[in-house]
């Protein structure tokens, strides 16, 4: 399977939204274009596992014999036309995530921060420069100026706090393309500030303007403009997507786990990040060991099929015809593999339940061996244990049952002995019951529960036929691919609702008995 995970260095939703210089945008676009060739803008790069059936045509056309009645050709079931079921039971390797956090992740926020700081300090610069440069020539400006100073100070404070609250957050993801709204806002801020500086430089610094009050008002108008841009930023980045407009169906390709989400107006890449955030907490963890039918059932199907071609006219189209005939015959043949599947499932179910029962009993019993130390109890210090020791003390009695259960449910790669001990310690500390302790092992939890601590992040590839910065629309389909599985997302619009009202008079609720009497006469 073609697994190209592209890790891109484009920052997504980061701290300061009001920054980026034009050169950076150009650089982003150039870089994104250079990556295009491998992925293809308009092509779907979702590939299914396993070899395609009809790929390898047999090249027998040239050696066809003219006395076709006397020769027979045999294509056995193990030729290149067959589908190898080994492909379906591929073992997935655990890929090493890149160890170090990529510094490119913070490039965008850093630039945004720089632009934000620059924009923030500009009004102060506007106020201070005349004072520093030609203080004696300025007209004295009394009370109105001081009033403006106060309002300016408070507006700047509000700007600062709002920026801190909204934009100073660590970025959640890096997107393949530039984040359109955010770069738009950065460009806007830059233009604003640049034009204000231009005007200031030409009309105030050059002629050494003496009307200080006008300068202060000018600085105040810049702060107002910045506040409005921040309002625009809030609306575009945070608020617009809150109202739900689309319903997304997310299906995991390997085991069919699916969920429906309501989402607002977003671009495809932002929607992808939103979905992935919910994926980590909603979907049960992907366990490759649980996916496949046992070999004993599948292998019965491939008991060699011999197809005899008793000489057709043109043998070049034969291969497709033969494969189709083989498949059709296999489908029509009365096979009892469903029977075996059913019994195997039932047996598996029974086994799991038995192990689960043993585990529950073992854990319950283990938990009865310890109890919290009450102050009234007189115990000598040797018998007092901290949670870790208590956990180790009772772990031994349940270890075997636990291990057997995990092995039956194929969960043992996810839980090492150390992790079980730690969890036990945690549960003991918080006075949890055995059932609460077992909750983690009895049901496969969401992926985030098993998230190993690494700061480099998870790599996902967004596969889409449309440009990923375009907005979601009805009927769009895109996929989020990882090494061994992918999530296919279908977009549907939430239907328009016509809500009508109907008034019911409370006095109109009246009832009669349903009669069916029988009278004898």
């Amino acid at each position: 399977m073609d697994t190209e995970s592209q890790y891109s260095g484009y920052s997504y939703k980061s701290s300061h939204s009001r920054s980026s210089r034009k050169p950076r945008d150009r650089r982003d676009r150039h870089r994104s274009k250079s990556r295009d060739g491998s992925r293809g803008d308009k092509s779907v790069t979702i590939q299914a596992p396993g070899e395609p059936l009809l790929d390898n045509e047999s090249t027998r056309g040239d050696d066809r014999d003219d006395n076709w009645g006397e020769t027979t050709t045999v294509v056995t079931g193990t030729s290149e036309h067959s589908v190898s079921h080994e492909d379906l039971t591929r073992i997935t390797k655990d890929v090493e995530e890149s160890a170090a956090p990529d510094c490119r992740r913070f490039l965008g926020p850093a630039l945004s921060g720089a632009l934000g700081l620059f924009a923030f300090l500009t009004p102060l610069a506007f106020l201070l420069l005349p004072q520093l440069l030609w203080r004696d020539q300025l007209d004295p400006c009394g009370t109105p100026c001081e009033g403006l100073y106060v309002s300016l100070a408070f507006k700047l404070l509000v700007l600062l706090i709002a920026s801190w609250a909204l934009f100073l957050r660590p970025p959640r993801a890096t997107l393949p393309r530039i984040f359109v709204f955010r770069s738009l806002l950065m460009v806007l801020v830059f233009l604003f500030v640049a034009s204000y500086w231009l005007f200031y430089g030409v009309r105030v610094l050059e002629p050494r303007e003496r009307d200080y009050r006008g300068i202060v008002e000018y600085a105040a108008s810049l702060v107002d403009a910045l506040l409005f841009i921040q309002y625009l930023a809030i609306v575009l980045l945070e608020i617009r997507q809150i109202q739900p407009a689309f319903c997304l169906k997310v299906v995991r390709t390997t085991d069919g786990a699916s969920k429906f989400y309501n989402i607002g107006h977003l671009s495809i890449q932002r929607a992808a990040v939103w979905i992935l955030e919910h994926y980590y907490s909603d979907f049960p963890v992907y366990n490759p060991a649980l996916l496949n039918l046992p070999k004993s059932i599948l292998s019965k199907k491939m008991s060699g099929f011999k197809v005899y071609s008793l000489g057709e006219e043109n043998s070049t189209n034969n291969s497709t015809g033969q494969s189709r005939a083989m498949i059709a015959a296999a489908a029509r043949r009365r096979d009892n593999s469903h029977n075996e599947y059913y019994y195997e499932e039932a047996e598996m179910e029974r086994r799991v339940r038995k192990r689960k029962a043993r585990l529950v009993v073992a854990v319950e019993e283990a938990f009865t061996h310890i109890k919290r130390l009450q102050d009234e109890d007189q115990k000598n210090p040797r018998e007092i244990m901290d949670p870790r020791e208590a956990a180790q003390a009772i772990f031994a009695s349940m270890a075997r049952a636990m291990q057997k259960y995990l092995r039956t449910t194929r969960q043992q790669p996810y839980h090492s002995m150390e992790s079980i001990l730690q969890h036990l310690q945690f549960c003991i500390t918080h006075d949890m019951t055995p059932k609460a302790f077992l909750e983690r092992y009895l049901t496969p939890g969401p992926t985030v529960q098993y998230h190993r601590e690494n700061t480099a992040g998870r790599q996902w590839t967004l596969v889409s036929e449309e440009p990923v910065t375009s907005a979601l629309r009805e009927g769009a389909v895109f996929a989020l691919r990882r090494m061994d599985f992918s999530l296919v997302v279908t977009v549907r619009r939430i239907p328009f609702l016509q809500v009508r009202e109907e008034f019911i008079d409370p006095k109109s609720h009246k009832f009669v008995m349903r009669l069916q009497s029988e009278t004898s006469v």
Partner: protein, 124 residues
């Protein structure tokens, strides 16, 4: 036995004459009725059309006057002594049947087998 509102109801009926039996102070006929326009027609087990609110015979007591006269369970009573029984309440029906001054009641009843019999004979 379905009817179209406003159109006359036609049915093949059988005339049954029941002589009331004096039992102590009461005159009894020996059957039970169900149905009526104030009752729930959906629970009638004997009607073909579950919106039919007519009066049906739900029980015929053994050896009673009704059984002797030939009344059968599931019959729909169309007339009693000339009084219509297709559009009456349950209580009105009871009253028409249990008039103290009448000793004989002449019923017109209909059932499905009657229609079938007539149809058979018409075909032959």
């Amino acid at each position: 036995m379905s009817y179209i509102p406003g159109q006359p109801v036609t049915a093949v009926v059988q005339r049954i004459e029941i002589h009331k039996l004096r039992h102590g102070d009461n005159l009894i006929l020996g059957f039970s009725i169900g149905g009526g326009i104030d009752q729930d027609p959906g629970q009638n087990p004997y009607s073909e059309d579950k919106t039919d609110k007519g009066i049906y015979v739900t029980r015929v007591s053994e050896g009673g006057p009704a059984e002797v006269a030939g009344l059968m369970i599931g019959d729909k009573i169309m007339q009693v002594n000339g009084w219509d029984m297709t559009m009456v309440t349950h209580d009105q029906a009871r009253k028409r049947l249990t008039k103290k001054n009448e000793d004989i009641v002449r019923l017109l009843v209909t059932r499905k087998s009657l229609e079938n019999a007539v149809r058979h004979s018409m075909l032959q």
